[in-house]
C-alpha cells in the first residue's frame, strides 16, 4: 500500500486527473447538471473540506514550539504557557455560545483590536520610509518624488476642496500610471503563474507534493 503513496508517478497522475476534472468542464458548452460539471463541483467541495483540516497542522506546530520553550525554561516561557492556554480557552468559550459570553468578549476586546493594530501600524513605517526615500537623489528618485507628492496632496481631502486644480492631476496619476503598472504586473505575472502550474503538472516541481528536493 505504501508503494502507492511513495510513487511519484501515481501521485502525479492523481494530481493531473484532479486538475483535469476541474479544468475541462469549465470550457465545455454543457449544462450545469451534466455529470462532468457535477463531478467537478463535488471535487471542489471536497478540496475545500480537506483544506480546512490543514489548520490542525498549524495548531500542532504552535504547541510543539511553545512546549519546547517551556521544557527549556527559556526566558519568558510563561508567555508561551499563556498563549497555549488562550488557544484552549477559546475552544471552551465557544461551547458557551457564539453571540454572547466570553467568546464574544474575547472577539471584540482582544482579537479584533490586535488584528487591526498589526496592519494599521504599517502607516508609521510607510511614513518614515516616505520621508527618507522621497529625496531627489537621482532622476528615478525625482520622478518618484514628484508623483508621490502630487498624489499625497490630492488624497488629503481638504486640498481638493480649497485648491481644486490638484484634482485632475491627482486623478491623472492615480488612474493612468498606477493603473498601468497594476495591469502590466498582472499580465506578466499571470503567464508566470500558469507556466509554474504547467511545470507542476509535468512533474518538474514535485516538492509541491511533499517529495524531498532531491532524493526520496
Amino acid at each position: 500500500m505504501s508503494a502507492f503513496f511513495r510513487s511519484k508517478e501515481i501521485q502525479l497522475a492523481i494530481l493531473i486527473l484532479s486538475f483535469l476534472a476541474v479544468f475541462i468542464p469549465y470550457f465545455l458548452n454543457i449544462p450545469s447538471d451534466h455529470p462532468l460539471n457535477v463531478f467537478s463541483t463535488k471535487l471542489i467541495l471536497i478540496a475545500g473540506i480537506t483544506n480546512a483540516f490543514t489548520l490542525a497542522l498549524a495548531v500542532y506546530s504552535q504547541f510543539r514550539r511553545g512546549l519546547s520553550f517551556v521544557r527549556r525554561r527559556a526566558r519568558g516561557y510563561i508567555f508561551k504557557i499563556y498563549m497555549m492556554t488562550a488557544i484552549i480557552l477559546m475552544l471552551i468559550f465557544w461551547t458557551m455560545g457564539e453571540t454572547t459570553g466570553p467568546y464574544h468578549w474575547v472577539m471584540y476586546a482582544i482579537i479584533t483590536p490586535l488584528s487591526s493594530v498589526n496592519y494599521s501600524i504599517l502607516v508609521f513605517y510607510m511614513a518614515s520610509t516616505g520621508a527618507r526615500a522621497f529625496r531627489a537623489r537621482n532622476a528615478k528618485a525625482l520622478l518618484l518624488l514628484i508623483t508621490g507628492f502630487v498624489v499625497l496632496l490630492y488624497q488629503a481631502p481638504l486640498t481638493g476642496a480649497i485648491f481644486p486644480a490638484i484634482n485632475p492631476l491627482g486623478l491623472y496619476f492615480g488612474n493612468t500610471f498606477a493603473m498601468a503598472a497594476g495591469r502590466m504586473f498582472l499580465i506578466s505575472v499571470t503567464v508566470g503563474a500558469i507556466v509554474f502550474g504547467v511545470r507542476v503538472l509535468m512533474g518538474k516541481e514535485t516538492q509541491v507534493l511533499g517529495f524531498g528536493s532531491e532524493k526520496e
Binding site: T41, P113, G160, M179
Partner: protein, 283 residues
C-alpha cells in the same frame, strides 16, 4: 554656521520616532473634537453610487465582507453608507464573510443601521440573511457559484436556509450584484467564479489594494470601485448621512500633510547636508 549645519544634519538624520509621534498626535487630535470640513467627490465614487442607486426590491445582492477586522475599520464608512442605500431601495441582501475575524462584523453593522432597518421593516429571512464564514478558500467560492444549495445549507445561526429568500438563488446567475468589501482575501476568487461569468460586481477596497483592483474596473469586470475610507466619506457626503468616514477626514488630511512636510524637510536636509557628506546609495 555650525548651528546651521546642525539643523541641516537634524533634518537629514532625525530619529524616526519623531515622525511616529507626530502621526499619532495628528490622528488622535482631530478625533477628540470632530468637525466636518468640505470634501470633493471623485468620479469613481459617483459611479459607485449610481450602481447602488439603481437597485430595487427585486434585486438580490451578495454582500461579502472580504476582510480582516483591521480592514473593516477602514471600510466601515463605505459599508454603512452603501448598505443603507440598499436597504432604502428595498434590495435583498445575503451577507457572507471570508475571514474568521469577519464573522463578528455583520452584527456590528446591522446594529448601526437599526434605524433604517426598523423604518423600512426590513426583516431577517425575507429581506436579508447572514450566512457566516462560507468562503474559506477559492474552492468554496467556486462551489457556491456552481451550485449554491449544494455548498451552503445553514445560516450563521445554524438555521436551515430553506424557506428564505435564498430559495430563489441557484448559482452565479441568480445574483443581481455582488458587493465586495475587501482587503483582497477572496476578491480574485469572486472575480474568477462570478465576475468573469457575468455577475455584476462592485468593490470597496482598502487603499493598499487600489492599484491592484483598478485594472478590473477598466476591463469591465467591476462596475465600480470605491476607494478606501476616502471613498466611503464621499459616499456619505453624497447620500447626505454623515458617518464615521466624514468625521475621520480631518485626521486623514493632517496625516497626509505630516508626511508631505517631512518629505519637504527631508529634501532640505538632503541638499543641505547628506549630499556633501556621502555618496548616494542605490535606487
Amino acid at each position: 554656521m555650525s548651528e546651521k549645519k546642525g539643523l541641516m544634519r537634524f533634518l537629514a538624520e532625525y530619529d524616526r520616532r519623531i515622525i511616529y509621534l507626530l502621526i499619532f498626535v495628528v490622528v488622535i487630535g482631530p478625533l477628540l473634537s470632530p468637525f466636518i470640513l468640505p470634501i470633493s467627490v471623485s468620479p469613481d465614487t459617483q459611479a459607485y453610487y449610481n450602481v447602488i442607486d439603481k437597485l430595487g426590491p427585486n434585486d438580490i445582492v451578495m454582500v461579502v465582507f472580504d476582510t480582516e477586522f483591521s480592514g473593516f475599520m477602514e471600510l466601515q464608512s463605505g459599508i454603512l453608507a452603501s448598505m443603507r442605500v440598499m436597504i432604502e431601495k428595498g434590495a435583498k441582501m445575503v451577507i457572507a464573510v471570508s475571514h474568521p475575524e469577519a464573522t463578528g462584523i455583520p452584527e456590528l453593522v446591522l446594529n448601526q443601521l437599526a434605524d433604517v432597518i426598523s423604518r423600512k421593516q426590513y426583516t431577517y429571512g425575507k429581506d436579508y440573511v447572514y450566512l457566516g464564514y462560507i468562503f474559506p478558500n477559492e474552492a468554496a467560492v467556486a462551489a457556491t457559484a456552481q451550485d449554491f444549495h449544494g455548498a451552503v445549507r445553514q445560516d450563521y445561526y445554524g438555521k436551515s436556509i430553506e424557506g428564505t429568500l435564498l430559495d430563489k438563488v441557484k448559482d452565479w446567475s441568480s445574483w443581481s450584484l455582488i458587493s465586495d468589501y475587501t482587503t483582497g482575501i477572496q476578491s480574485q476568487a469572486l472575480i474568477n467564479h462570478y465576475g468573469l461569468r457575468g455577475t455584476p460586481m462592485i468593490v470597496n477596497c482598502i487603499g493598499v489594494m487600489v492599484a491592484t483592483q483598478k485594472p478590473y474596473v477598466s476591463s469591465g469586470i467591476y462596475k465600480a470601485l470605491l476607494q478606501s475610507m476616502r471613498g466611503g466619506a464621499e459616499l456619505e457626503y453624497l447620500i447626505g448621512v454623515p458617518g464615521p468616514g466624514l468625521t475621520a477626514m480631518n485626521s486623514f488630511t493632517l496625516g497626509h500633510y505630516v508626511l508631505i512636510i517631512f518629505i519637504v524637510l527631508g529634501n532640505i536636509g538632503y541638499f543641505g547636508y547628506t549630499r556633501y557628506k556621502q555618496k548616494p546609495t542605490g535606487g
